[in-house]
């Protein structure tokens, strides 16, 4: 029992091993059923990590808990987008929803009337969240691209947040990367797993909000998010469809992870290793 407790309180187990395993198992169970429910695999992996790290406590309603709540709302929104075909409206709707979520997250700082940069952060942050969410929904039917994008975003956000002195956000964002990693592994072995808006919308929204939260409530450098904003563009680079799936996947992940790697390096160079 003590060994189990020690394992489950280990940050590496909480934010890497558990979300990876849960996501893998759920994906294997749901994959034969096809359709978008397979996207729940990564959501379940992330939810398991949230449970271990935060115990699903809601009050006092601080930023990380707001993000988890918004993530739950985004799952519902994602399901609606999968069920109802709002092709034209979806990006605009998601941009507005993402921007509103960002403003709610930043409200304690906006409300305290800090110096002018907080207003700049409110505008730029809303644009960042809105852009990532709106740009990602177009990939809901392209699991390789969707997984590559979320993996790169979450890994970049998680590791830079760890370096930027908030391990909590770092752990939670890294858990998303681990959960997506399980799906990438399946795809690497030629087993396609559907994504769907029910996975893409909440995980991208939550990752983007962790980035903004780490910037507003800790010391994450702004250029980290500027670099990560390039990920949805890079993941769309055309790759010949005749190439083997695993080659496509490796290239997609590599290209998407490029700005994340630069962001991690620059953050490490400027902030150094986290204090222990």
């Amino acid at each position: 029992m003590v060994i189990m407790d020690n394992l489950l309180t280990n940050p590496l187990v909480q934010s890497a091993v558990v979300p990876f395993i849960v996501s893998l198992i759920v994906a294997l169970i749901l994959r034969p059923h096809g359709w978008y429910w397979t996207g729940l695999s990564a959501v379940a992996g992330f939810a398991a990590a949230v449970y271990l790290i935060t115990d699903f406590q809601l009050f006092p309603l601080r930023s990380d808990r707001k993000i988890v709540l918004l993530g739950c709302g985004a799952v519902v929104l994602g399901v609606l987008l999968d069920l109802v075909r709002w092709r034209r409206l979806a990006p605009g709707l998601l941009f507005v929803a993402g921007a509103a979520a960002c403003l709610w997250l930043l409200w304690p700082r906006i409300n305290s009337f800090d110096a002018w940069p907080i207003w700049l952060l409110a505008v730029a942050g809303s644009a960042y969240v809105g852009w990532l969410v709106a740009a990602s929904v177009g990939l809901k039917d392209k699991p390789v691209q969707a997984d590559s994008m979320i993996f790169a975003l979450a890994l970049g956000t998680g590791l830079t947040a760890l370096l930027g002195a908030t391990a909590l956000y770092g752990q939670l964002a890294s858990a998303i990367a681990a959960a997506i990693g399980a799906r990438l592994l399946l795809q690497l072995f030629g087993r396609p797993v559907a994504a769907g808006a029910l996975m893409v919308v909440p995980l991208v929204a939550v990752t983007a909000l962790f980035g903004i939260g780490a910037l507003a409530y800790s010391k994450l450098p702004w250029y980290t998010l500027a670099l990560l904003a390039l990920v949805p563009l890079l993941v769309r680079l055309p790759i010949p469809a005749r190439w083997p799936l695993f080659v496509q996947l490796m290239i997609r992940v590599g290209v998407a992870a490029l700005p994340a790697a630069v962001a991690i390096y620059l953050t490490w160079r400027d902030l150094g290793a986290p204090p222990i």
């Binding site: 006092p60 002195a165 391990a167 204090p275």
Partner: protein, 191 residues
């Protein structure tokens, strides 16, 4: 007879403010009040830190051996002598100072035992979570300030033990200690 009534009425008028002012009111001197904390660092050593900005007020009712304490601490003023660690302590991992800028302590019951010590029951709020905490107050010293004419000052040392996990501050548990010793060295000037 009318003279007696008049005398009683005058005495009442004079003594009324004395009764009202029986509890002395003090303002905490931020330049001489620094809440400290001590916590185990990975079981190797005890790390100390303090908060540089504190404000508040107290009342002391010597006649009733009672009073009140109201302290507000600027969470962002945490200082352990290492800037990067202080940034981490301000982050959502610990104090979450941007979202919860103040740590507060508000007494609910004060019992002064003799002239030098007291027990203060109250509520401590850290990172938005409020829990009951009892302060053990010792070395209560009051008197005229020797370098500030007309100022009457009271000072005391107070300590309490808390578990940071009670306040939702769970980062690094159990490696970084859960139990913390809080110390308040307070000086306050009578209003």
């Amino acid at each position: 007879m009318r003279k007696i009534y008049l005398a009683v009425a005058m005495m009442s008028a004079v003594s009324a403010p004395v009764l009202v002012n029986a509890a002395e009111q003090y303002t905490i001197d931020p330049a001489h009040t620094y809440p400290h904390f001590a916590i185990s660092h990975l079981g190797f050593s005890t790390m100390h830190g303090r908060f540089d900005k504190t404000e508040g007020d107290l009342t002391i009712d010597w006649a009733k051996n009672s009073g009140s304490v109201n302290i507000k601490i600027d969470a962002a003023s945490v200082n352990t002598g290492f800037a990067k660690r202080d940034d981490h302590l301000r982050s959502p991992d610990f104090l979450n100072a941007a979202e919860f800028p103040t740590i507060t302590y508000k007494s609910t019951k004060v019992v002064i035992a003799g002239k030098k010590s007291a027990k203060v029951e109250g509520e401590l709020t850290i990172a938005g979570t409020t829990k009951p905490v009892t302060l053990n107050v010792e070395r209560i010293n009051c008197g005229d300030h020797p370098m500030k004419k007309g100022a009457y000052v009271c000072g005391f040392d107070a300590t309490a033990k808390i578990k940071r996990s009670d306040f939702g501050v769970n980062y690094g548990l159990p490696a970084v200690g859960d139990e913390m010793v809080l110390s308040f060295e307070v000086e306050a000037e009578r209003k």
